[in-house]
Point group: C2
Chain length 204, copies 2
Amino acid sequence: MELIGDAQAVDSYSNLLSGVVKLTKSLSDGRQQIVGLQFAPHFLGRPFKVESSINAEAVTAVTLCSFPRAAVERMMKGSPEFEHRLLKQTLNELDEAREWLVTLGRKTASEKVASFLLMIARNIDSSVDPVARSASFDLPLTRAEISDFLGITNETVSRQLTQLRADGVIRIENTRHVMVDSMSRLRSMAMPSLSQKTDSLDRL
Amino acid sequence: MELIGDAQAVDSYSNLLSGVVKLTKSLSDGRQQIVGLQFAPHFLGRPFKVESSINAEAVTAVTLCSFPRAAVERMMKGSPEFEHRLLKQTLNELDEAREWLVTLGRKTASEKVASFLLMIARNIDSSVDPVARSASFDLPLTRAEISDFLGITNETVSRQLTQLRADGVIRIENTRHVMVDSMSRLRSMAMPSLSQKTDSLDRL
DNA sequence: CGAACTGTTGAGCACAGTCAACGACTGTGG
DNA sequence: CCACAGTCGTTGACTGTGCTCAACAGTTCG
């Protein structure tokens, strides 16, 4: 929650060394949507564009390593290797964004919350990446932030978490620490198993 | 609607020379979400990844210029210029995806439909890019596809279009051709004016 | 202590989903 | 040629998920 770095962070570029940053967009009437969550280590900044209309905000304690905009853009011109890595990261972010488009557009509230917990577990507790049976982690976001991430209200988030607790899928301590007792159940709740059609591209 | 190219289009890379392609993701129970619409000219293909779990499908007549995967990846290694342009395109796609995250997560059905019409007008009728008073174009998508794009049902899409017609904002001919009589009204319906907070990054 | 913030829970309602019927059009085969 | 099935779009009636409004408990901080 504490602030590190300064406001020039937008105009410059930074490496996120530790902590979690949220990217948000807002409508004028106050409705807000989190459009990206970045976990360390991650590169922050949007090359080739002045006006992004995206707000970046730290959600946990954060350490940054910032560079002036000009320096980074010079570096990008000189080093194809740097641009290559930036491209890879951007492609990954695009994949993640598209995954969330499915979640926001087509999943129910309980599926959204389950998907969110899985995503957090994957990124925070990096040890249990594979097909673990259980997991344990601290939520980096408040209920209100989770609701802005999932496109629902904080009341609905709270109710769905209560439901997961009642079903014995998770336990919660201090409203922030989550213990997943049954990852498999959580997974089956999150995704009615994403599938790709086999007959894709018939028309291409 | 007709099919051009073939199934190897996924494994290879292509330039989309004309027409419109949709990128979709599906859940196993049939729910589907369009995660991207690409208008010509556009580069198709996902470098550095085997498994994308995204389906690409033509929604109009399409002409492609395809290259074998290996050739393009060799080219990318050799030419920083090529990779540079690919990075720019990817960043733009990421911006669009994030814009749609707000639409899917936080807008009402009527706002979604209005936003969709504006987006199509911007991409199809490329002449009236700026602040035009009216516009006219053919929808590249069916009602069902629009609903998969907006994360709502086709019935709701149909009702919202009827409503826009009743309000005198648009006229429709043959279910496909849309004439926007009042772009300003359409704009005000689409976005309770996107705004960025001024105090962003206080915590960064 | 009171104020502010976060999280939980309840009661009622509304927006969008579901289910169903129908018209217009298209292509198919008897 | 026409009957038929299939797709697409529209509209109506009803329902349910998730939103709104509200009260309340637990913490933190001045």
